[in-house]
Assembly symmetry: C2
């Protein structure tokens, strides 16, 4: 390998390889190396979470959202799944010369609305402009800081045999809506991105049980990527019941048409919850009372066989291995 490939940015196995071989080898430390969604550390008497994400989504505006909303939700959600209450965001813009000020205004308005919805503040920022052709319209980085009050540690490595796996609703809406928008396909599908700040829903989840093991937002790499990360980190097996996975029929149809596995498609308003079996009903009820969790459902469980693997039980009773995506289905989804 001597050139970076698009697939290195897919959030799958190839991204993982790049990060491990080129970045962790030199920069690894006890906070970075676990590759959780946020770094978690104590400063003074508080436990903090710190995370960063750059957004290069194309097109900038898509049904259900835009790069501004995405850039707030992405970081709010990465803090949330670390069990943190998101407080402060940074906002850094890289803008291509000639970019429309009207588009910038729409993006900033969207950031304003989303920060208000999430109850967070942009407190520091940076603006760079590169010459025409030096970037594609606009890239946004947000980093964020949150405070963790939840006592039990949340980690991708804590899934245990018997645990239930819950998701808060329809999968694959984000990836499919961006893809359809980008393709310019004249499809009349009412598919909108699910992009949403999940901190309120996560607060409800954490208030419902003291024993949550792990939260994970299945973004790049989709549910398949997230579950494989958990199975690997926890050295556990995971079984998913395909018929339980909530998916809109339009999205399923689009996936079939385009040859995509909906398990691998990015979500931006979903959270996977892993909790002990005896906590599952309490957690589910709490989630269903939140408007972003009305369709919450148990989609699978953690098992003590096939460690490190994710298996899908099909409606007719067969089993297939759900691989971690290697590269990506399509770039620039977030």
């Amino acid at each position: 390998m001597n050139k970076i490939l698009l697939a290195h940015g897919g959030g799958g196995a190839l991204t993982d390889k790049l990060i491990k071989e080129e970045i962790l080898k030199r920069l690894g430390n006890s906070l970075l190396t676990p590759l959780e969604d946020s770094a978690v550390f104590n400063i003074g008497n508080k436990r903090l979470a710190f995370t960063t994400d750059s957004f290069v989504v194309k097109p900038l505006f898509f049904p259900g959202g835009d790069i501004g909303k995405l850039s707030v939700c992405g970081t709010v959600n990465d803090l949330s799944v670390a069990g943190a209450i998101p407080l402060y965001l940074s906002l850094s813009l890289i803008i291509e010369e000639g970019f429309s000020v009207e588009k910038l205004q729409k993006i900033i308005l969207s950031i304003e609305e989303t920060t208000k919805e999430a109850g967070v503040f942009v407190v520091t920022g940076d603006t760079k402009v590169v010459e025409k052709g030096g970037a594609d319209e606009i890239f946004i980085n947000t980093s964020g800081i949150g405070v963790i009050e939840y006592e039990s540690p949340l980690s991708l490595s804590r899934a245990k045999e018997g645990d239930k796996i819950i998701i808060n609703g329809y999968v694959a809406d984000h990836g499919i809506s961006v893809l359809l928008q980008r393709s310019g396909m004249e499809v009349d599908l009412p598919v909108h991105s699910d992009v949403a700040p999940l901190n309120g829903l996560v607060r409800d989840i954490l208030n419902s049980s003291k024993y949550i093991r792990c939260l994970k937002d299945p973004t790049r790499g989709g549910v398949a990527g997230a579950l494989n990360e958990i199975a690997t980190s926890s050295s556990a097996g995971i079984i998913i019941f395909e018929e339980n996975l909530p998916i809109r029929k339009e999205v399923k149809a689009a996936c079939n048409l385009l040859g995509f596995d909906p398990f691998t498609i990015a979500n931006e308003g979903k959270v996977i919850v892993i909790c002990p079996e005896e906590e599952a009903e309490k957690v589910l009820s709490a989630m269903r009372r939140n408007s972003l969790g009305r369709l919450s459902v148990i989609i699978g469980e953690v098992v003590n066989t096939n460690n490190g693997k994710v298996l899908v039980k099909t409606p007719i009773g067969g089993m297939r291995i759900l691989e971690r995506p290697y590269g990506e289905n399509f770039p620039r989804i977030c």
Copy 2:
């Protein structure tokens, strides 16, 4: 204005206008609106600083440094001038498809060396890849968190009549070395970027006096930009003695040749210190004992006339107004 111009990214008056009109109007709050180098807030029993910077420097490698070193120093220095001890950095890469893995390795090595020099840790990250032509090689964002132990508040708004203005050495080395490298001009000038982590020097400054008013790194917009920000924020006048400003004769020659005012050229290893007159000698001695401050010198003072203006007293005794740069001399300097 309906298009973003390169000059909007120059860190001068036009950047300021863009930020105030398009960003602060919607996202402004008590932490963001002062536009200091870092946001400063309390969490628990600690006072924290939080900052972000995206780096788009071209070329990626230049005499004295590269985008990796720059991306660590930029954020370490922004935290340092807030009076913070830098602790943790995030690292987010936007890479163009086809980028050389060998170049990436050199950049990551440089990040490793610089984080070690500065005593900070990269604790969270993100990697995105965009298609060929979608970005120019690589852009890096770093954000950072530091802890403030210094009791007196440091702020651009605290300069007072009689205060002395100190700088730690030669100006304009960074901007000129990047520019010469980019131009491919066959000039045989021994000019290297001054890029360096300033947290050690700042620690020595803060240990030397309890009464420092303000620290500021004169990056984009140079010394002219930094001093104008201070004069405006403090509603004070500033007088600079041109003959005291340390500048290498090669750099001065290059500026003369190219028609640049060295006061407006970016630095990446310089700090401007404003302190009461009676503290200045103590501060200077402490600075001169640090290898990055050996050439520290008083370059001017704060006055109670010409509020909001920066005046330069020329060697022959004339006075000229030093304007805040409007756009920028050349883009992509950091």
